[in-house]
């Protein structure tokens, strides 16, 4: 009813996406960039992180390429604020980032190892999601 309820809703959505995305990227970065597993992690965690990331990236790629195409329920996984921030962040490089992310969805589907350039694109998404969640939190707490 008040502004705060809708901002709380917005924050919960953005924070959940940021958390899920970052957690998956952290596990995969360690596995593919450092070549090891984390404290208490198993290959099963890596497998799950790949599945989670593939779902999130698939939605993100669909949402980034939505111009003129019918909206699909898949796109709802990515908060609108994250998309907007990501678009502003990469501006003219959107096609390039989208292509990198699309390639990564294919790599994840094929079971291929992820390479360093892929993580640069993933970090851009992580940062956009994190900034969006932080901004919503600040609006919510009025800080």
């Amino acid at each position: 009813m008040s502004e705060l309820s809708i901002i709380a809703h917005d924050y919960a959505l953005n924070a959940e996406f940021a958390r899920k995305f970052n957690d998956a990227v952290l596990i995969l970065k360690r596995r593919y960039l450092l070549g090891r597993l984390g404290n208490g992690e198993t290959e099963e965690n890596v497998k799950q992180a790949r599945i989670d990331l593939k779902v999130l990236l698939g939605s993100l790629v669909a949402a980034l390429q939505d111009e003129g195409k019918p909206w699909t329920a898949d796109q709802a996984q990515v908060p609108a604020d994250v998309l907007e921030r990501l678009r502003k962040r990469v501006k003219g490089g959107l096609e390039e980032v989208a292509a990198e992310l699309r390639g990564m969805v294919d790599d994840l589907a094929k079971g291929a190892a992820l390479r360093e350039p892929a993580f640069r694109a993933l970090d851009i998404v992580c940062e956009a999601a994190d900034q969006t969640a932080s901004a919503a939190f600040r609006r919510l707490r009025r800080i």
Partner: protein
């Protein structure tokens, strides 16, 4: 040397442990519903502290490739700690008679509408009308809410925020699909008709407003109407009267006039056309008193056809999720829903005498809620 991130994690752990101490200290004497919330908050903070400890032991914490990711995780956990301190701990420490009554009342509403999760904790501590705080499972109400009945339908709206968020695939996503399709069709038709760029821009702007946050408010109004019935429409009119311009909207909230139309759509779907017409009659009277004029482009910004489609979707999904509609209660089984409906009848019958009615009705409600009731059939 200790890195900045290590320092922040140590600070987070210290703050988390302090909150755990406070949550443990308030346990004694808490009613069962407050204690359940306390236990849940305690578990969440315990997990947060365990995460901080685990991360502090991580040999890769200072690796430049991973450090920003750890920092982002730290921020989310830190936000949780701040939220629990500012809301859960505040209400649990206060636990006033008003907070207890409102929490019991909300618990009963949850039973009546067949809300599936644990009922949120309720505190009469808001300085900004009603607030639903999803992250901590709390609803804040205005200070005087435990002493009045006419605004109680707004509790249903706040509860609906939890449902729209948690039942996203069943409720929000189908609603979004309808809205996206509606505006995509509008863009296609506009292009075919060669509409001016300014009109096309307005369609795009309306689409963004609907799909970013307005759909949530519309859906919450509609779920609340499904649960609470005509009283929700009346409470909305009462609130709108104090808010002023019925056509004013913002990035977060659609115009009250359009929200009223959404509420009426649900009432009609529930077979309460007469109640919808009565709300509309009062609404026209309110608009007669208001100096506001419907702005240009309003009908295109709030297409009735779209509101009807969204209402139909929400109505169907509420039924699919197993919620009990206001008109499905057996006589007398909806303690809170019945009290609200009767309060509005009494208010409309004799507003001058309503104060006395309200006092005794609240006392009666308190007595009923103090007696353990059977689940509503």
């Amino acid at each position: 040397m200790t890195s900045l991130l290590q320092t922040l994690l140590l600070d987070l752990k210290r703050r988390g442990n302090w909150i755990l101490g406070e949550l443990a200290a308030v346990e004694k004497g808490l009613p069962a519903d407050f204690n359940r919330h306390r236990r849940e908050a305690f578990q969440r903070v315990t997990r947060a502290v365990a995460w901080a400890e685990h991360t502090l032991r991580d040999p890769d914490l200072a690796d430049p490739k991973l450090e920003p990711n750890f920092f982002r995780d730290f921020k989310r956990i830190s936000e949780l700690i701040v939220s629990i301190e500012d809301t859960s701990l505040l209400i649990l420490k206060r636990c006033s008679p008003e907070d207890r009554f409102l929490t019991a009342l909300l618990e009963q509403i949850c039973r009546e509408v067949v809300y599936k999760d644990s009922p949120p904790l309720c505190g009469a501590l808001s300085f900004q009308y009603f607030q639903a705080l999803m992250e901590t499972d709390i609803i804040m109400t205005p200070q005087g809410q435990a002493s009045e009945l006419l605004a109680l339908p707004d509790l249903y709206h706040e509860l609906a925020h939890f449902v729209v968020f948690r039942e996203r695939p069943a409720l929000e996503v189908p609603v979004l699909a309808i809205i996206h399709k509606y505006f995509a069709d509008a863009v296609r038709k506009g292009r075919q008709q060669g509409l001016p760029q300014a009109t096309m821009d307005a369609i795009g702007k309306n689409s963004t407003l609907w799909t970013s946050l307005w759909h949530v408010e519309f859906a919450c109004d509609m779920v609340a109407t499904y649960w609470c019935g005509p009283a929700y429409g009346l409470a909305n009119l009462r609130l709108s009267a104090t808010r002023g311009d019925p056509y004013q909207d913002s990035g977060t909230h659609p115009a009250d006039d359009a929200r009223k139309t959404g509420i009426e759509c649900i009432l009609k779907l529930a077979g309460e056309g007469a109640a919808a017409n009565e709300t509309d009659r009062m609404w026209q009277d309110l608009k007669r008193l208001s100096p506001s004029v419907q702005p240009g482009g309003y009908a295109k910004r709030y297409p009735v056809q779209l509101l009807e489609q969204v209402a139909h979707c929400v109505y169907e999904e509420c039924a699919g999720l197993g919620f009990r509609r206001f008109s499905q209660h057996q006589s007398g089984s909806a303690i809170v829903g019945g009290a609200i409906a009767q309060a509005w009848e009494a208010f409309q019958r004799d507003a001058a005498a309503f104060g006395a009615y309200e006092c005794s009705a609240i006392q009666a409600l308190k007595s009923k809620l103090a007696t353990p009731s059977k689940p509503s059939p």
